[in-house]
């Protein structure tokens, strides 16, 4: 759980449907077009079409289009849908390659002035950034952006602060900023940037918008984070197209109280990590990189939060499948972890053994040795058990407990 990005479409809908009654702010009337969803009841006329996949600099990357009408918009989308594209943050950036799949379509708004509004959170306050020189070049005009520190609390102290700091602005703008600030708190946004917003005959309209939600609030906001009758999705960042195994683990993760994560870094990697615990899993991956072997690292992943034997086995299965598919030679599997506080090591290793047993032949054919380092409740039994079982299968294994420094196993394996 953390701060998670959502699509511009969902953010605008979420704000629009929570605006207080009688608000002079706009009513959102756009649509999200993907392979499965089309334009719907959007009014015909000039439209703005933009890619909606969490990345910025869309104008500079040629992914904003002013369409004459619905037909024109759809033709443009057709041309770009499923296209492979490289998105660059700036001219020197080598960019991230990905596939275009989602587009937001909205009525075109005639306007002159463009404003900037962003809200960021920090430990004791929210910072409101405001400028009447918003738009594509905001970064060049950063010195004109007003920074307003609003001390965080659930009281309405923010009203006084914002009223005072924005006293020179029109009532429409002041009200808009205060309304957005209120929704930011109420809906547990973690980050919001509206660049630009404009004033038109339809009220104050956010034109481009970037948002992240605080996903630790997922439980509390269950009833509010709903758009088009479904919970707002949290898409993966652009260019991080997911493998079958990653998707399978995501699904498994969503179904259990335990935490199961898998990120394939190099499908043809040589070094594969099966590490327990959120903290330890990062450190194992770090150590592989810090020792200079990052190019050979197959994956980052973790299993923690006391997964059941079956869940552990299912997690291992997905990881093993990817590992066996790797074209690297001299592959190696590291089963790692710190000293657990209360996870029963003997029980979780049962699931690991079960999965190894299932792929025994592949381990032997591909000659993949297994290296283990783990501690915690009943680790002695767990370590003895895995050593005995894996040796019996004829797979080379070396097993270590807390007497060995946690990541020394990585060094031992890689510096051979």
């Amino acid at each position: 759980m953390a701060q998670k990005s959502i699509r511009e479409y969902h953010a605008k809908q979420l704000i629009s449907q929570n605006l207080p009654t009688g608000s002079t702010t706009w009513h959102f009337s756009g649509a999200l077009v993907s392979e499965h969803e089309t334009l719907g009841e959007i009014p015909d006329g000039p439209l703005i079409v933009k890619s909606d996949q969490l990345f910025g600099k869309r104008g500079k990357n040629g992914l904003i289009y002013k369409a004459k009408d619905k037909k024109d918009a759809l033709t443009w989308i057709d041309k770009h849908m499923n296209a492979k594209t490289i998105i660059k943050k700036n001219e020197n950036d080598e960019g991230v390659e990905g596939i275009l799949t989602h587009f937001i379509v909205e009525p075109y708004v005639e306007h002159t002035d463009e404003y900037y509004l962003a809200i960021k959170t920090s430990r004791t306050s929210n910072t409101v950034y405001f400028s009447d020189a918003g738009g594509m070049d905001i970064e060049e005009n950063w010195e004109q952006v007003k920074m307003i520190e609003v001390p965080f609390s659930y009281t309405d102290e923010y009203k006084l602060v914002l009223e005072k700091e924005l006293a020179d602005e029109s009532i429409d703008i002041r009200t808009f900023v205060i309304t957005i600030y209120e929704l930011f708190i109420k809906l547990d946004f973690a980050y919001l940037e509206i660049n630009p917003f404009a004033i038109s005959e339809r009220g104050v309209i956010p034109l481009d918008l970037v948002a992240r939600l605080d996903s630790t609030a997922e439980y509390e906001q269950e009833a509010s984070w709903i758009v088009d009758n479904i919970p707002i999705p949290f898409p993966s960042p652009f260019g991080s197209s997911e493998s079958e195994s990653e998707i399978a683990i995501d699904r498994l993760d969503a179904k259990t109280g335990a935490s199961l994560k898998l990120k394939i870094l190099n499908p043809d990697g040589r070094i594969w990590l099966l590490v327990a615990g959120g903290g330890a899993s990062v450190i194992f991956a770090d150590t592989v990189a810090d020792l200079g072997f990052v190019d050979e690292l197959g994956n980052y992943g973790e299993y923690s939060g006391n997964p059941s034997t079956d869940e552990t086995a299912a997690y291992c299965t997905e990881l093993f499948k990817t590992m066996f598919a790797s074209s690297a030679s001299n592959k190696v599997l590291i089963i790692g972890g710190g000293i657990a506080n209360f996870t029963d090591i003997a029980a979780t290793f049962k699931g690991v053994i079960k999965a190894i047993q299932q792929f025994k032949d592949e381990f032997i054919q591909q000659n993949i040795p297994i290296h283990v380092r783990r501690g915690g409740p009943r680790h002695k039994e767990g370590l003895a058990e895995i050593k005995k079982a894996v040796e019996a299968m004829g797979i080379p294994i070396d097993v270590n407990g807390p007497e060995m420094h946690m990541t020394r196993i990585v060094k031992n394996v890689l510096k051979k």
Binding site: P151, Y154, K263, G278, G279, E381, T407
Partner: protein, 603 residues
Amino acid sequence: MSLFSKTTTAIFYNQHPKPIQRMLDFDYLCKRDTPSISAIVNPTNSGFHRAFFGTEEIIIPVFKSLEEASTAFPESDVLVNFASERSAYAVSKNALEYCPSIKTIHIMAEGISENKTRELIRIAKEKDVLLIGPATVGGIKPGAFRIGNTAGSLDNIIAAKLYRPGSVGVVTISGGMSSEIYNIVAQNTDGTYEGIAIGGDRFPGSTLFENIMRFENDREVKMIVALGEVGGTAELEIAEAVTSKKIKKPIVMWVTGTIADHMKTEVQFGHAGAKSGVENESASFKNAALKKAGVHVPKSFDTFGDLIKEVFEKEVLTDKHYKAPEDGNYNQVPTDFSAALKENIVRKSASIVSSISDDRGEEPTYNKIPISEYADKSIGRVINALWFKGKLPEVGEQFIELGIKLSADHGPAVGTAHNAIVSSRAGNNVIMSLIAGLTTIGPRHGGAIDGTALWCLDAVERDLSGKDVIAEHKQAGKLIMGIGHRIKTVQNPDKRVEILKDFIATNIKNSHYFSKALEVETETIKKKNNLILNVDGAIGAAFLDILAEANFTTDEIKEIVSLGALNAIFVLGRSIGIIGHALDQKRLKEPMYRHDWDDILYI
């Protein structure tokens, strides 16, 4: 000042037996005089919680609200908060606002929104309370106090020497990594003085920096070990404080997540606060900044322990005021029976033996078969499994069902029903009325099934004729059980008995026992036309034939009868009727029953 001492006591929110016991085990291990939990809060229960302090079983008071607990134990200044994500915020806020004696609040739950945590942080600052968490296992003061599950099993605690204080202040983000770090610290220094895991949220209740500053100001701490993470800028605050000499004690620190530099797209690591993608929040940026400020930063986590050792030897051991901590010793904590059993080091004769069912697996079983497999079978199959261990043939199951149906209720006038009616009308519930009704079953009411079976068995075994049976009963001055009916006669036969006769005729080839009962009836009806085989007698005699047909030996049949299994068919069947009467009286709203004076002979 350290947060905890050997006399610190905590209020534990939520009655979780395992972490409560783990805290008390730690207390006993490090020879505290008294347990570290003074009270438990359970919003749905009050009273006492039983737990062990060493070998001694103790009780800890349980309160329904935190305010009550805190008022009763004002010396307890720590809240160990195991409330769920649903209530952890409200509980913590309550503690801040209404429990002024609580000075440290731990929050275990994950999934408290950033806004709510920030609200807690704001109030905590106002009230000068230290927060540990959310989303963390907590912290530990070696030799003094442990929050919940911190530092894991007692084996880990002993291996990491956490039963006595060392001189290293330890602070980590990850709770999961804290045990590992205590182990590393124990292997490379004189041990941990105090360890806190602040939790992986973006806005932890207390920061790495705040905890490091506490260590800086605590004379007992000689050096500091810290573990940071990619994401956030908290570590940069530390670098600044070291640069400006606000922190003078040696710090060995590592920021994890260097792998993120090698990833093209943003990746969310295990913790909420650990997100790659922002340059000055990256692990390598922060490690470099710390190093530049004068913090001891290893090349990778792999040499973290080596560097800790080096700094400890160079900067702590060389100090002429340094005094090594007494190595001390610890109490051996008794092993829980269940744990010892798991490890095959104890055994004990069981107090109860059971051979008909098992509730230990994924699904309970009747006679070794999962309950779900009985769902589409008859109730007779279930009775067969639980009463006869599945040994009856299917015809036996059918017969039991028939017996139940025929004996379910014989009207409101009989003892079972009458007592149930009186009891129900006294305002008793179904259970009490059922019991009242069942107590009227005895050798004279319903007991005839067993009685008939016994004389039938005897007659067949000794090859007595019907006449012999009557003669022996007469001589002994006993009635023949199962013979005689109040209304029914030879001319007006009991239809239920006819059904049972048919059942036997259809299903049993050699009905020795039932034939013997009929042989006796032939003689008795000669005397009076209502001395017929009644329904109880018919069930008793017929069941013997069913058992014999299923190859039960005579001894086995005798055993079944002597166990009371036959009579139990009547008890079970009649319970249906008794419950019916109890419910009926309630439905009819009948007042209390009082027997009529006219109907009583006063003498």
